[in-house]
Amino acid sequence: MNRFLLPLGIFVALVALLGAGLKLNPRLVPSPLIGKSVPEFSLPRLADQGTTLSQSDLIGKVTLINVWATWCVGCREEHPLLVRLAEEGQVPIYGLNYKDDRAEALRWLARYGNPYVASAYDADGTVGIDLGVYGLPETFVVGPDGVIAYKHIGPVTAEVWRDKMRPVLESLRQSSG
């Protein structure tokens, strides 16, 4: 009987390891920017080309940065939730319009609602690269000090908001007093 215990034990351990692995999404790339400051940027605003949006505009309050584009299907999916969050005043949301057509983007917002305090227009995606963007939509939770606390890849759903993002937001607000 003892002879079987060791191989059985190794087998069970392997199954547990592989089983845990099956639950993970292999395409998810964890962001190395968690805990780092939002990289410096200065981009024209989507709506008002003359004005700029920069990372300093995010300082002083907890914010979300939502990377979006009209060509992104997932962005369309999560948009109603973002609009609702903005209407409820849950958190200021800043948009990063990534590699998009400005006119199309403005039309899109007019049609589906605009949850953003302001959107920055990242025409060639360089600010996106600085943020480690690889698959829209991506949403960052940023603390009042400008430090990235959390990044979500993919559409923000009610569950994601409730279980992942809102707790981070609340703890950031509590610790900042």
């Binding site: 790339v29 590699k99 995606g125 360089t126 690269i129 600085d130 943020l131 480690g132 698959g135």
Partner: protein, 157 residues
């Protein structure tokens, strides 16, 4: 038997062979052949995060095009391989490298297969030894049986 038309077959073969090269044909200027070599070496070692099984050299994805442009710009600025790798890893993490660095977090990745192989080998050796140890002794034959055995063997010689 009908003759197989050769020309179309050869043309198809060429297309198939060249297909990977056609993926990323972009014209780029470099200050020197070393820089061009540096570029090609680097983009082969960096992963495309959209098509995650392709390198930046092979991938057609938009992000790959943008990152190739970035690498090109950095090389023209005279940045070293370390600088460029650091740039990519700072934004995308270790996953962007085809050769993950040996760190505590990647130890399982590097060592895991060998460790498992070693465990399997040890188990196998122990199993063989165990079998040998408990193998029954060849039983002694009686004289009668030995005589019959010899006769049988002799008969078949």
């Amino acid at each position: 038997m009908r003759q197989v038309p050769l020309a179309p077959v050869v043309a198809c073969l060429w297309l198939i062979l060249l297909a990977p090269a056609c993926g990323a044909l972009e014209l780029r200027q470099f200050a020197s052949p070393q820089q061009e070599r540096q570029f090609h070496a680097l983009i082969a070692e960096l992963r495309c995060l959209v098509c995650q099984n392709q390198s930046l050299a092979d991938s057609d994805a938009d992000l790959a095009k943008d990152l190739r442009r970035e690498v090109h710009t950095m090389i023209n600025d005279g940045k070293s391989n370390e600088d460029i790798v650091e740039f990519m890893v700072a934004r995308y993490g270790d996953f962007v490298l085809y050769r993950p660095p040996l760190k505590l977090s990647t130890l399982m990745l590097w060592v895991g297969p060998f460790a498992l192989g070693l465990i399997a080998l040890i188990a196998l050796i122990r199993q063989i030894r165990h079998r040998r140890a408990v193998a029954p002794e060849p039983s002694q034959l009686t004289d009668d049986e030995r005589a019959r055995l010899d006769a049988l063997i002799d008969r078949h010689h």
